[in-house]
Symmetry: C2
Subunit: 253 residues, 2 copies
Amino acid sequence: MGTTQLESVPEPKYWHLRTVLSEALDSEFSVGEILPNERDLAARFGVARATLRQALEQLELEGRLQRRRGVGTTVAPPRVGVAVGTEQHAWPGAAGDVWQTADCDLAVPAASVADALESGRDEPVHTVHRSRVTHGQPVAAELLYIPQSSVPDLSGIDAPSGAARARAVLRELHRLELEGQDSAVELGSARADDAKALDRLPGAPVLVVTTRYIAAGRTAALSVATYRADTCRLTFGDSGGVEIHEDPQRRAS
Amino acid sequence: MGTTQLESVPEPKYWHLRTVLSEALDSEFSVGEILPNERDLAARFGVARATLRQALEQLELEGRLQRRRGVGTTVAPPRVGVAVGTEQHAWPGAAGDVWQTADCDLAVPAASVADALESGRDEPVHTVHRSRVTHGQPVAAELLYIPQSSVPDLSGIDAPSGAARARAVLRELHRLELEGQDSAVELGSARADDAKALDRLPGAPVLVVTTRYIAAGRTAALSVATYRADTCRLTFGDSGGVEIHEDPQRRAS
DNA sequence: TAGTGGTCTAGACCACGTG
DNA sequence: ACGTGGTCTAGACCACTAA
């Protein structure tokens, strides 16, 4: 029957470019190597710089490239697996915790946080700021919300804020019996403060992990952790991380 | 001391625009409402269309907007929570499984998949294609890899491929005793086949969930599931989903 | 100071969905 | 046929890093 459509849907240039570059990365480049600059690459492929950048953005999103202003574009190492959920639940700050406590303050949180905590919208909440570093690189920034009612006995702590105060809040939290926890993961973009902590530009893609800690039948604490999506693979489950370091999505077409 | 730097770091236009639009979405628009088209919006804000599009891309990434070619830009509903990990482990296809089996074939997989399966690089592997639909919308596409050695007794099954064959493979899988499972989540971009299944364009951001199923001390099956990052919030843990429908990241600055 | 990636512009044309 | 978002161009200037 008449017409056979050979290429009824022509591939966008940037998508084809992404594929070509991806294959070149596999075969001709090694981790850490610097690519030619964007103007040269665009000229070499005969496209506008904006089109080349669209391809590079894709590859950066997939964790294949790392771009730094003033420096250049380098081949990224495989994503690091970071454990964010284990079978045995544990309070933040428990033994083996990988987070580094930085600061603490006390304020009435945004309405969405108050609702998630099931606390009153006017109740002040302790907010502990923490950060997570793996292999010398910052991978996550966390805000940990703890209603005053969860840690009522904070008397005798003189520090009004700072790391000492943060540790005191966590210590009080451990006195409660943890009944369970659940988490959710979604895509977000780094706001200014997170971006600075993660050494990225604002708007960089991040994986937002929201964890509720349950004690005495209610939400005793809420963690909102922001992970660098370009460098991290979040692992859940019993055996402490899947052993795949090749991207399993990168399969034969 | 002389000069006080008021705005030493001027905010990029597209980032400021993102904030302005985000606040407008909160206060002046409701879910499903159609925004003015990109050319009008750009003119209204006095920027080039490309700059406006950069802001819209951010908001789409955050799940706030939905853009469809030939139609327009609409305000997206809150992300749906989809459960991807439960306390009680279960084989794919077990009672209560939310996946819809579509097809099955038998082939030697890509090297990275073979490595993750700890199967020989030349061993043929059953590949079951499944899809997941929530609230009438496709949210995920899955490839389920099952080495022949995991389901040796497939004799008497006449269908060489197709849904019937897929169900037979899953049925055989259930005869094994599941010892555990672990998962990993990372950001990826949809390839052509996934994009079509998810009703998105190639390159759309996706959350790739890789799950290993353990039986008899080895990896009996490997699942690579691709979720729409714009519409999904992946939930893990005991209580079947966090009850936050407001984005917890969207907090006061 | 030179070179990099990041931002922005003002256009053009194309693919798609709807009427 | 029309209007939408998607792709692409060829430039310009800015912010940052390192020599």
